[in-house]
Symmetry: C2
């Protein structure tokens, strides 16, 4: 064998070895195809602001922190056509991940409604403390283990407004027969006071309120209400009682998560947790900016809070409904008791900290 | 050259190449020595709860998310002996990172005091919105670029209590000559009302208050005050006005950060941001739990808020001091204006959201 051939053999061995080396290196040093390609289904439409941006932020963080090893493709409801089928699709493994809100699963499993927000419940900083330091995450894991998925906080809207009303609510009598769009458990509570609760698709809400098919509706707050345009057609904007800290939710298929290497589990978990907190800051900002815009363009919008007698009555009906359910469902009772006892403590702290401070720094 | 020798050459090439490949792989698959070993200096002593735990959480996240590629060693003040030298040590490169509070650098660069908290300023959720969505991060980067370090939020204590007092403060006259430990800019403001402001090392505070060498002191809030034991020797616990959202701070040497690969920059940045938010939830929880303990063991502790006339006077003196500085320092003015205009908007939102809600859900 001539010298050149020997050299050639050496070269081939090196080229193979080096190309293997670079292939290995490429996986951890990006550019190559990702080693893990996941799909996420979300309840929201394509380009839905704030909610959709939080999901995108999570996916971007996973991609950059894993140096391209892991990618998560996001499918909106426009693609998968099942906005309220997220839990089932993640459970069944069609999607490794989902993004939705836990209270949407109330009909399937009533215990899951606690992990979004509760009427007269905790505000966002209190609720985050409950999730991460007050036993909330453990209870959520326990409740979701029946469905073989992991659940994580997925972004907070902040305190939601009580809704847009065509007429001022001065007494309980004004609620009797009032047609209002308000979904979920809060709707159940309001219906006990005589409100006729309806559910109407988002795209038809403006017209329904304008034409008088409904007398009132709740959506989110200035952060997302501005684009809906309700301030152009309803003069009263009520403060909230029903969703003081709406937390969205990431869902992850247990088997798929458990099969990931530890560092990717840590990367995903951290990306979800940060995106959730970040959405709370984003919501705070967008609510502030949009409320300012609404006030400038529509200075006659009137902020109202329900009269004390109505608030008191709503609290009674709320507790009645919760206690009824707790009497027949031990896990429901366990979660309810945890939230009630935690809120008592944390609200005592809020009272002498942020609340006492705000009293001196807000002009009525 | 005999055949065996040629084979030998091939083998060597393969062994070298393969060992390089596995070395590369080992770095990204843990167990090996970390590729990046950084050191962090913090202002706090060894085992300092909450603050120190937030730093540890950040370092743990970096290690697990980088799969062991990067480690950060934490030096407490017991080791480096320079609790207030963190900015200089990170700037000088002796440490790649630091953990401290931005208002400690007021004497070196008065513009840096804005990034912790300000008397009568924003509460934590408002301030996070300012940092991440209201221009705060950009202003912080601008202010710190003079010092060649990057600065990041490093954990929030929540609203700090106004302090422990031996006597009730009923009017401005009660403040004249009152000896109080309260550091920083808030001390400057209080001194305008006749308070004799002193600074006393942490370890001597309890004895100073017990023996009457001081009449009052502020520390943090129940989360950290409980261990100090002040509730055993002072009957009045005043609500806060001076530090509504104390945010600690991570510092990173610019050159060291810029030299990291993009995915490690993302991992560190995400770990810092999450640890900061997480410390806010931890502080909320520990304040709630510890305040509950204090109330149970010392039910006679009286919560007080300064009379309206004093609050009004403090606001006037606070604004006077800030405006004086703004008149001679354009960057100071830029940051002050940003915080003031943002707070106006975001407080209008807080007023109709969390504040309106709490008013209906807190019994006085």
């Amino acid at each position: 064998m001539p010298k050149t051939t020997r050299f050639h053999h050496l070269t081939i061995a090196l080229v193979i070895a080096l190309s293997l080396m670079f292939a290995g290196s490429a996986v951890s040093k990006a550019n190559a195809a990702p080693k893990y390609s996941w799909k996420l289904a979300m309840t929201w439409p394509t380009n839905f602001p704030i909610f959709g941006d939080a999901v995108q932020k999570m996916a971007d963080l996973v991609k950059v922190m894993s140096n391209g090893e892991m990618e998560i493709r996001i499918d909106s409801k426009n693609k998968h056509k099942a906005p309220l089928g997220i839990l089932d699709m993640v459970k069944g493994g069609q999607y490794e991940m989902g993004h939705s809100a836990s209270y949407y699963w109330k009909g399937k499993d009533v215990n899951l409604m606690f992990f979004t927000t509760m009427p007269f419940g905790m505000i966002a900083p209190e609720q985050y403390a409950w999730f991460y330091y007050g036993g909330g995450m453990e209870l959520m894991e326990k409740a979701y283990s029946r469905h073989h998925v992991y659940s994580f906080p997925g972004g907070n809207t902040g305190n939601q407004m009580g809704g847009w009303f065509q007429k001022e609510i001065k007494s309980e009598a004004d609620l009797k027969g009032l047609k209002m769009r308000i979904p979920g458990f809060a709707g159940e509570v309001l219906s006990k006071l005589g409100v006729v609760v309806t559910n109407i698709p988002a795209g038809e809400l403006y017209t329904a309120l304008e034409r008088g098919n409904i007398d009132a509706l709740e959506w989110v707050g200035p952060s997302l209400d501005l684009n809906m345009g309700f301030h152009k057609i309803a003069p009263y904007y009520y403060t909230g009682w029903h969703e003081p800290a709406t937390e969205l939710q990431f869902l992850v298929n247990q088997k798929k998560f458990d099969a990931l290497p530890e560092y990717l589990q840590a990367i995903i978990t951290t990306a979800m947790e940060l995106s959730a907190y970040d959405m709370y800051s984003r919501s705070m900002n967008d609510s502030a900016v949009n409320w300012d815009l609404i006030q400038k363009d529509y200075p006659d919008i009137k902020i109202r809070t329900f009269p004390k007698e109505i608030i008191a009555k709503l609290k009674i009906e709320n507790n009645k409904l919760l206690n009824e359910q707790a009497a027949k469902n031990p896990m429901f009772k366990e979660i309810l008791d945890s939230q009630r006892s935690y809120m008592k403590k944390v609200r005592n702290w809020t009272k002498i900290s942020d609340y006492a401070y705000l009293k001196d720094n807000i002009s009525e």
